[in-house]
């Protein structure tokens, strides 16, 4: 993907994050405070019958962290937990420079060269890891 297009997608998801708002008590709240830097996001997930029916996030974080969270959450809505885990696993593989399935990642592909900036890897994976841990841990039926 062209660098300018990547930048505009990242910025658009940062400056106009359509999923950045709090949600009510019917959502589970996952805090993804990053211990090594200063990003601090809360993720809200509503899961019924193993399907992620809605999600949002709120908090303070850097451009990479906010933007990747917004894109990921948009992609997860409507997916089953298993599908969600699969998307995240492929995303994490991409970030860590392992083999991954490009067809699954849509706009998340804008982060495909994050590994060139090692200090940004944690920012790009903050929410993904938090959501993955929750999806894997709980029985959401």
């Amino acid at each position: 993907m062209d660098k300018d297009i990547k930048r505009s997608i990242i910025l658009d998801n940062y400056q106009n994050s359509n999923m950045k708002h709090t949600s009510d008590d019917s959502y589970v709240k996952i805090n993804t405070r990053n211990v090594s830097c200063i990003d601090n996001l809360d993720i809200y997930l509503k899961i019924r019958n193993n399907i992620i029916i809605d999600a949002s996030f709120e908090g303070e974080a850097c451009v990479i962290s906010i933007s990747s969270t917004n894109i990921l959450i948009n992609m997860l809505i409507g997916k089953t937990c298993k599908e969600g885990i699969n998307i995240i696993n492929n995303y994490l593989k991409m970030i860590n420079e392992e083999e991954y399935d490009k067809d699954l990642l849509e706009d998340l592909l804008v982060f495909d060269d994050t590994s060139k900036q090692p200090s940004r890897i944690k920012c790009a994976t903050l929410s993904a890891n938090g959501i993955k841990e929750y999806l894997e841990k709980e029985n959401h039926s």
């Binding site: 990547k6 910025l11 200063i38 303070e60 850097c62 451009v63």
Partner: protein, 398 residues
């Protein structure tokens, strides 16, 4: 000033993160290397020549530190691994035994984690109460607010000499006068103060003080715990073993050594102590008053130049130390730091270990510049230029 003494400065960097750690002058590195190339041996041990050299350098550093902070006696100086270690020894080794349930310790919301969490732990363990002296509109402590916070349960006040985000210097002398009139002990976290201003523990009548070597041009892993002799003598050691015992027998009888050796169990960080000694010599040679004046002038210049940029918010304009906290409007602090790093300008972004400060600051993350005497107006001009072009920030960092 003295830029040639710092090899790191030849790497084409602008180093503005001196509150995190300072660069090291060559003499500090040389002192450490010399220990390993010319007289490696343990301190307080062997009867051979190199051991005697190390012993005298080790104890000589204690004397240098005594003079540096004007303590009464060498025995009031204990070597630790740093400010955090010193604070924990003070809190766990002394106050855990001194304080009773419901006794109160006064701190503020702008303290560093190492002057907060040890007290929280004590609160949990023995039921003391941690109370906050309110800060004024500049996020600074006032004598009036300190006085009003004192109750008949207040037994200790524990404050940074200079805070690490706001950078205000506290009126410790006035505070300890009032504290002592009320039988309150005074603990000072001098991690950010000792490298930049002359602290006189007798003049300020400080009971306990902690500071780190690496923030004052010395090596990492070495720090100092100061306490008045009678108080230090009451600290219960946290490390038992070699070097700190006078004798022990098979039936469990243990006799401990005198202060300060009693509190330095195990082989000490000898290279750290010797490196710190070289750093103290170096600072004394430049003169703490010269350092203080130079850094204050430089800060004034930095603040006046930053103030000309209408897209910058400065959070501590009115202070008079080496620290400036700011943000580019609408840009997260970490993104600013990464942008500046593109130009080899090293700054710190974050909450700077003062995680409860956002209660008063209204912003939890800032970019922090903490100046040293080796920084220059030319470096500040470069920073300002880079900031002026920060409309390109996304193009640069994405």
């Amino acid at each position: 000033m003295y830029r040639d003494d710092f090899e790191m400065l030849s790497n084409n960097i602008i180093y503005f993160d001196n509150g995190a750690t300072t660069l090291k002058p060559k003499c500090v590195k040389d002192a450490i290397c010399k220990y390993y190339s010319e007289y490696t041996s343990n301190a307080h041990r062997g009867d051979y020549k190199t051991s005697a050299i190390v012993d005298s350098l080790y104890e000589g550093t204690r004397e240098k530190i005594k003079n540096f902070i004007n303590a009464k006696e060498n025995s009031e100086i204990v070597f630790t691994s740093g400010t955090t270690n010193s604070m924990n020894i003070i809190v766990s080794g002394f106050f855990k035994n001194y304080l009773k349930k419901d006794d109160e310790v006064l701190i503020t919301l702008s303290e560093h984690a190492s002057n907060i969490i040890p007290w929280f732990i004590l609160q949990k363990e023995i039921g003391i109460k941690v109370k906050y002296i309110p800060l004024d509109n500049n996020n600074e402590i006032t004598i009036e607010n300190f006085k009003n916070s004192i109750t008949d349960k207040t037994k200790v006040v524990s404050l940074a000499y200079v805070t690490n985000v706001i950078g205000d210097e506290r009126p410790i002398k006035d505070i300890s006068k009032i504290a002592h009139e009320n039988n309150i002990l005074v603990v000072v976290d001098a991690a950010q103060g000792a490298p930049h201003t002359r602290i006189d523990v007798q003049e300020d009548d400080i009971d306990f003080m902690a500071f780190s070597g690496h923030k004052m041009y010395g090596p990492t892993g070495i720090g100092v715990l100061y306490a008045k002799f009678d108080l230090l003598d009451k600290i219960i050691p946290l490390n038992y073993g070699g070097g700190m015992n006078a004798m022990f027998t098979k039936d469990g009888y243990v006799e401990l050594r005198e202060i300060p050796t009693r509190l330095e169990g195990g082989t000490p960080n000898i290279e750290g102590v010797l490196g710190l000694g070289a750093a103290i010599d170096y600072l004394e040679n430049i003169g703490m008053n010269n350092i203080n004046k130079y850094e204050k002038d430089l800060r004034k210049y930095l603040v006046s130049e930053l103030s000309k940029l209408d897209f910058i918010d400065i959070y501590n304009k009115n202070n008079d130390t080496n620290i400036v906290a700011f943000n580019i409007k609408g840009v997260f602090a970490q993104d600013t730091a990464i942008y500046l790093d593109k130009y080899n300008i090293c700054v710190r972004a974050g909450n700077h270990c003062a995680k409860i400060l956002d209660n008063v600051f209204n912003v939890s993350n800032t970019v922090r510049i903490s100046l040293s005497f080796y920084n220059t107006k030319e470096e500040i001009d470069l920073l300002i230029n880079v900031l002026k072009n920060s409309e390109n920030i996304w193009k640069e960092i994405l």
